[in-house]
């Protein structure tokens, strides 16, 4: 089977006592892709990863790797390797011994182990640190050792459990790009667990968003961000305004505050729906300013203003509706104060229905 998915989960559930950590997840991860499982902590993403690794076994459903059903196969017999959140480097071994561990367990011969360890350390730019102990390395270096220790085995799938969580922001951003680069060079399927939506957007070919044990949506970063299919996904990926509305027909909807606006939503009139409107898709102008053609506009008042450096975030109350607006900060651009009356406007196709 050449078209088999790298990893396939079929109806996979995991219950711990009476808690359902993972709830009938179906998922196919393609060969060679960088796939992220994204969700808040406790959503079941790590448990899902651990079931692929063989560190947990599903209560129901089936995990298969390249068409081969894993069943109750223990982790040491699976063609995958894991980079743990805590790195889990063996503290009593040198960097070289840590990286060589998996190869030694597979009983490869000495020369091959030596060559492959050297290659793996070169890949993560740690040549020269072979004799160090993990506690003599910085967090970023430990992270690289963990990566080398997994990659040296040339697994069919590499599993990464929030591997950048313990690093500071600058280093994390650098490592994100480095990881993505590394993945495309080695061509191994990466399954990456994270709660950081920015991280997922930056690195992934596709993202699976999880919440409360369920897989809510799978798609490319663009699809997930631009066309969320549920309020949870819209809210979790980036900042957004969620508005409840009633479909009026003829491309019109009625907001909770009674305002009628235009939106491209195909649904029978009378249906209750939830719209997502990204703060950066909203624009803010003075009350008498003209509004672009085809834009919806609401009159409101600024209730909060937060200066973000490259942007200014406003909360604007328009009747019963509160909208968050993110206005790009540029020289000469007018800024608004709290209590100032304003107009908020947006293109009619900016509003996406996330619930019908």
């Amino acid at each position: 089977m050449t078209d088999a998915a790298a990893v396939r989960l079929a109806g996979v559930s995991k219950r711990f006592d009476d808690v359902t950590a993972v709830d009938s997840v179906d998922l196919s991860i393609h060969d060679g892709e960088f796939f992220s499982l994204l969700g808040p902590s406790g959503c079941g993403k790590t448990t899902t990863l651990r079931m692929v690794a063989g560190l947990e076994f599903p209560t129901a459903g089936q995990v298969s790797i390249f068409g081969e059903s894993m069943g109750l196969r223990p982790p040491n017999k699976r063609p995958v390797n894991t980079v743990f959140q805590s790195y889990a480097l063996f503290p009593h071994m040198t960097v070289r011994d840590n990286v060589a561990f998996g190869l030694q367990m597979q009983r490869l011969d000495r020369d091959e182990i030596r060559d492959r360890v050297a290659q793996a350390l070169a890949l993560v730019q740690l040549t020269g640190r072979e004799k160090r102990r993990p506690n003599q390395l910085s967090g970023g270096q430990q992270q690289r050792v963990a990566l080398a220790r997994a990659l040296v085995n040339q697994p069919k799938v590499l599993l990464l459990d929030e591997p950048l969580g313990a690093l500071d922001l600058k280093l994390r951003q650098a490592m994100q790009l480095e990881l993505k680069d590394l993945q495309s060079r080695v061509g191994i399927t990466f399954v990456y667990v994270t709660h950081d939506q920015e991280e997922a957007l930056t690195m992934s070919d596709r993202i699976g968003v999880m919440d409360a044990g369920r897989l809510l949506q799978v798609g490319t970063p663009e699809e997930i961000y631009e066309r969320p299919t549920s309020p949870m996904v819209a809210q979790f990926i980036g900042d957004t305004n969620l508005l409840t509305a009633t479909v009026k027909g003829d491309g019109q909807i009625e907001l909770a505050g009674g305002q009628i606006v235009a939106a491209d939503i195909a649904a029978t009139p009378g249906t209750e729906t939830v719209l997502t409107l990204r703060p950066e898709h909203l624009q803010i102008v003075a009350p008498d300013d003209p509004i672009s053609d085809g834009h919806n506009a609401l009159d409101g008042t600024v209730t909060r203003r937060v200066y973000l450096g490259n942007a200014v975030s406003y909360d604007i109350v328009a009747g019963d509706v509160t909208l968050r607006v993110r206005a790009r900060n540029a020289p000469g651009r007018r800024q608004y104060d709290v209590d100032e009356p304003v107009q908020v406007h947006w293109a009619r196709d900016a509003a996406i229905a996330v619930q019908r």
Partner: protein, 279 residues
């Protein structure tokens, strides 16, 4: 802030008082030991009166058959019971720390009992047990079981398991369980993961537990004297017997030898651990 600790460090009278207290405590600890060592070189048979320097008592100790037998017995019991208690105690610690099973909590609580139960109670319980067990053995197999080195060793194992388990558990509790998962993920079988990752990690705890067991076994008087039989006197029991017949510098010499031996043991373990950390 002028420097680390500068705000809490005591000054003036308080400082002098604390220093005096420290010296007092140390004097209280070590003065008896120094007296003991000094008097072991006393030429006078009467312990309390210094007459002159001599090595005679050490010579007597080494030529005294009863002392040498007692030392031999002590070493046999200590070695055997330490090995057994270390293996069993480590296994108990591992299962309590790593696995969830039925009756785990009860087992956990019961494991600490020998630490809490007074020595005398433990001694009486063990003696009764051995007598009953001997009766049962005789009825079943016709074999005679006598009190002796075997029963002493078993008794020492019985109380040392708890101490070893406590020490090893403390070490295991501080160990990251994902290390074992990482080993499994890197193709190690359960046994390989244990050998290559778990065991080296908990080795200092196991060593510490073993040393504690060794010391406790070498020290024990109460339980040993209950469950020993003729010819199975250990060194501390022998010394205790000597004292009842009046203290002579021979006892001081024997005690000093014991002290030096245990200090060498402790020193060795400290050095061993330090070398492990450095390498």
């Amino acid at each position: 802030m002028t420097g680390p600790g500068s705000t809490v460090e005591p000054r003036g009278a308080a400082r002098r008082l604390l220093a005096a207290n420290a010296w007092l405590v140390y004097a209280f600890f070590y003065a008896p030991i120094l007296v003991l060592i000094a008097l072991s070189f006393n030429e006078n048979r009467l312990v309390g009166v210094w007459r002159g320097f001599t090595f005679d008592w050490y010579g007597q100790m080494l030529s005294n058959g009863a002392v040498l037998r007692a030392i031999r017995n002590s070493l046999i019991v200590a070695a055997m019971s330490t090995v057994l208690a270390t293996v069993l105690g480590t296994a108990a610690a591992l299962s309590l720390e790593r696995f969830r099973f039925r009756g785990r909590q009860a087992f956990d609580a019961l494991l600490y009992l020998p630490v809490i139960v007074p020595d005398v109670t433990m001694a009486v319980m063990l003696l009764l047990f051995f007598v009953r067990a001997a009766d049962a053995m005789f009825v079943v197999s016709g074999a005679q079981v006598r009190l002796g080195l075997t029963t002493i060793t078993l008794s020492h194992v019985a109380f040392n398991i708890s101490f070893v388990a406590i020490v090893v558990r403390a070490r295991l509790a501080g160990m990251d369980p994902t290390l074992e998962e990482a080993a499994a993920d890197l193709y190690a079988s359960r046994w390989q993961a244990f050998r290559r990752v778990t065991l080296p990690q908990m080795a200092p705890g196991v060593l510490g537990g073993a040393l504690l067991a060794l010391t406790l076994s070498l020290d024990d008087v109460v339980i040993t004297s209950f469950v020993s039989g003729p010819g199975s006197t250990t060194l501390p029991v022998y010394v205790f017997g000597l004292v009842r017949r009046g203290v002579t510098p021979l006892i001081n010499a024997v005690s000093t030898a014991m002290l030096v031996a245990s200090m060498v043991l402790v020193l060795a373990s400290v050095l061993l651990q330090r070398r492990r950390e450095l390498s």
